[in-house]
């Protein structure tokens, strides 16, 4: 991911090292002083500056000192997420960290067998003016990529809501399940290639979706359980599932073994993507077009839309709504699994990734109009862009990315509660 906020260029390239049992990871980079001399921009390395790798609570993990050219390289004993801090007391006299620059990179992920880079900038800041707008298109490109992943997962959520009326809070856990099954086959229990692992993951999530419909949701519906009760049941299931994942897979941010380190970007004119992101966008696009055609043209797709519009009318015109709903759960599960693998590939796999994504998905489908699958697509696009552009507008707020989307959700409900494509009767 190459999200570059204003004010600091954050180089985050990893280079794969040989895979072996003993992991061997380093953190490297440069401490450079920048100033203007005779109208010329000068960048020089600063020697003898102490760089510290520590845990969030301040326990020292490793440290190093910059050489003549300002370069440093620190061997980190164990992969993980650390804070990387520049010890300001070791700076030569007269050199300071300017406003807007960082002395600590918080929560730096240092994966196993990789070389992570962090650069510290001192002195006057010369990049600010140009860097802000030069980052606009890349930020937009990141937003588009996220939007395509949200779209894949939220279409299923929207279809489920449309046909059953249920706000399924366990949909995020379906996304995590997909990512975790693929990770298990790819890295943990077996070392399959990611593609077959992803296909198995999608099948698993589709089957689990169908089984939950048959085992839980259909019986509840036939008992006449209210939608609110079912929503709370889904929250309970989500809570249990999330911690089951944490119980089984642990709390670390995991990566797939393939396609994650791709330093050679594909140049698309003003923007560039690593190959995997381009593939993700293409696959999402193709699947979305496929689902849209299915909904518009195929018999079953039309039946889904009929049940969404008016379940009673659909039943009385001979549509078996239970079969349609089962299909929607299977389809929704498969799409969630696919989305999970792609999200995991881009942003890493973690037990609570689905829950984070769930709020974005809800924001997307509410924005687009609850229950309307095409609305979900438009909503996802807006939300994905919003999440990334938020970091563009508000500097140094990478850990608050999702706030933008959630604020958008609340504002939309104030102005247009039915969403962009929604119909008024659904909301009251």
């Amino acid at each position: 991911m190459l999200a570059v906020p204003i004010g600091f260029l954050l180089a985050d390239f990893g280079v794969a090292a040989a895979q072996d049992e003993d992991t061997n990871q380093t953190l490297g980079g440069r401490v450079q002083n920048e100033f203007e001399e005779d109208g010329e921009e000068v960048r020089e390395g600063v020697a003898d500056v102490r760089i510290v790798v520590e845990t969030p609570d301040g326990t020292l993990i490793a440290e190093g000192v910059t050489d003549e050219g300002g370069q440093y390289s620190i061997a980190v004993p164990e992969a993980g997420t650390y804070n990387v801090r520049l010890d300001t007391e070791s700076l030569p006299e007269g050199i300071t960290i300017p406003e807007g620059e960082t002395e600590v990179y918080e929560a730096v992920n240092i994966p196993a067998n990789s070389n992570t880079t962090r650069v510290f900038f001192l002195g006057e800041d010369l990049r600010q003016a140009e860097s802000k707008w030069s980052q606009f298109l890349p930020t937009l490109a990141n937003g588009f990529k996220l939007a395509m992943i949200i779209a894949i997962t939220s279409v299923g959520l929207s279809l489920i809501f449309g046909t059953t009326g249920l706000s399924n809070f366990a949909h995020g856990e379906m996304v995590t399940l997909g990512a975790l099954v693929a990770w298990g086959l790819n890295r943990s229990w077996a070392s399959w290639s990611l593609l077959p692992a992803a296909i198995v993951a999608i099948v698993v999530t589709a089957v689990v979706g169908g089984l939950f419909e048959l085992g839980v949701w259909r019986p509840l519906r036939h008992r006449g359980t209210s939608l609110t009760s079912m929503m709370i049941v889904s929250i309970g299931i989500a809570l249990a599932a999330r911690h089951l994942y944490l119980f089984l897979a642990g709390g670390a941010l995991e990566q797939y073994s393939q396609y994650t380190l791709q330093p050679d970007l594909i140049d698309l004119g003003p923007i560039e993507y690593p190959p995997r992101s381009l593939w993700i966008i293409c696959i999402s696009g193709a699947v979305i077009i496929g689902v849209a055609l299915f909904l518009l043209k195929a018999r079953f797709g039309k039946a889904i839309r009929a049940v969404s519009d008016n379940p009673e009318l659909a039943s009385s015109s001979g549509i078996d709504s239970d079969r349609v709903i089962l299909l929607v759960w299977i389809l929704g599960g498969a799409l969630a699994g696919l989305g999970g693998v792609m999200y995991g590939l881009e942003y890493g796999i973690r037990w609570d990734m689905g829950f984070t994504l769930l709020l974005l998905m809800f924001a997307a489908i509410t924005l687009g109009g609850l229950g309307n699958p095409f609305g979900a697509l438009i909503g996802s696009l807006v939300i994905g862009m919003f999440v990334e552009l938020w970091t563009f507008v508000v500097p140094n707020a990478n850990d608050m990315k999702n706030v933008g989307a959630l604020v958008a959700l609340i504002i939309i409900l104030l102005i247009r509660p039915q969403g962009i494509l929604g119909s008024k009767e659904r909301i009251g």
């Binding site: 359980t225 609110t228 309970g236 299931i237």
Partner: protein, 331 residues
């Protein structure tokens, strides 16, 4: 297996200062969900507001405690208005989604590195609980015990204070809900259209309920943070709200003693499962492939989630509840 420790630890977990704070928090949630039928899934946001709005002015600006408490009230009401005005006219699940989103916004905000100077980031803020220590009739560092479970004087004091506040607030809520005002809330829960037809301003009543329950939740959050002597973002994760839903459903929705009964039952099981598994793990009674070093502590959340789903399906009125008081089948 040290059964004495397991049982005394479970008893302590069910009545300690944390349980008292969660119980207060649940009393507020019960006003929303149990009495009014408002699905507030962002109660953790109210709790965070309660803790941080008290802590920050005291550390950063040296406010006296009553001024800080005033700020808690103001912020909590403001949050209710922000949440309520856009959503209370809409269907129940909109409120659910918006409240959970708002609670997450607040949590992202207080844990963000950008606001570390104000909120302390993920480490949170400490050093604002002197007020509670000063009032402590016991000595902060003295040891006390229930069976094999020991705890310090500060915890004992926060436990006594917490349950006292719970008792007072519960009686207030009970009285309020017997008043004509409370009966309007229940009528909204039972049939919103009927209440509207009788000329009641449904949105205004819902908003008042949101404010009162939110204030109680903020107070609960304040105690929750005070008993650990620190306000940290981790305390206010969405799980807190989900657990409280389980708690109030166990105790029976829409009953004044529901949250108290629910808290004690829930946290007894919670503490029991946790200590039992920790003992079993330490003594190698469980296979390694299943339980590694510390993942047993997740089991209680799995139990809570399953309990929440199962209760709603099989016993929505809770363990001692009255089926007529259960609210989920309104809409």
């Amino acid at each position: 297996m040290n059964w004495e420790l397991i049982f005394s630890s479970a008893v302590y977990t069910s009545i300690n200062a944390f349980a008292a704070a969660v119980c207060l928090f649940a009393v507020g949630l019960n006003v929303h969900v149990g009495y009014t039928g408002l699905l507030n899934f962002g109660q953790a946001g109210f709790a965070a507001v309660g803790a941080y709005a008290f802590a920050i002015p005291i550390i950063e600006y040296g406010w006296p405690w009553y001024a800080a408490l005033g700020l808690v009230v103001v912020c909590s009401i403001a949050l209710s208005l922000v949440l309520g005005l856009p959503t209370l006219r809409l269907r129940a699940d909109y409120l659910a989604i918006v409240t959970i989103a708002a609670a997450e916004i607040i949590r992202y905000f207080v844990s963000s590195t950008r606001f570390t100077w104000l909120t302390g980031g993920t480490d949170g803020r400490q050093g604002w609980t002197e007020f509670f220590s000063d009032l402590n009739p016991w000595v902060d560092d003295d040891r006390f015990w229930i069976g094999a479970q020991t705890f310090d004087g500060y915890r004992l004091w926060m436990m006594v204070l917490g349950w006292t506040v719970v008792a007072v607030v519960s009686v207030l809520v009970w009285a309020l809900m017997r008043s004509p005002w409370g009966r309007v809330l229940k009528s909204i829960r039972e049939d919103e259209d009927a209440a509207r037809a009788l000329g009641k301003n449904v949105v205004a009543f819902k908003l008042q309920s949101l404010i009162i329950g939110g204030l109680i939740g903020s107070l609960g959050g304040l105690l929750l943070a005070a008993q650990t002597q620190a306000a940290t973002p981790g305390q206010f994760a969405p799980n807190l709200t989900f657990i409280c839903f389980t708690v109030i459903i166990i105790g029976g929705l829409g009953r004044a003693k529901g949250p108290i009964v629910g808290t004690m039952i829930f946290f007894f099981v919670y503490g029991f499962v946790d200590t039992l598994l920790s003992q079993a793990t330490r003594r190698d009674k469980l296979p390694d492939w299943l339980v590694a070093t510390d993942n047993f502590s997740q089991v209680k959340f799995i139990v809570a989630g399953v309990a929440l789903a199962a209760l709603v399906v099989f016993r929505p009125q809770g363990i001692f509840g009255d089926r007529r008081e259960q609210v989920f089948d309104v809409r």
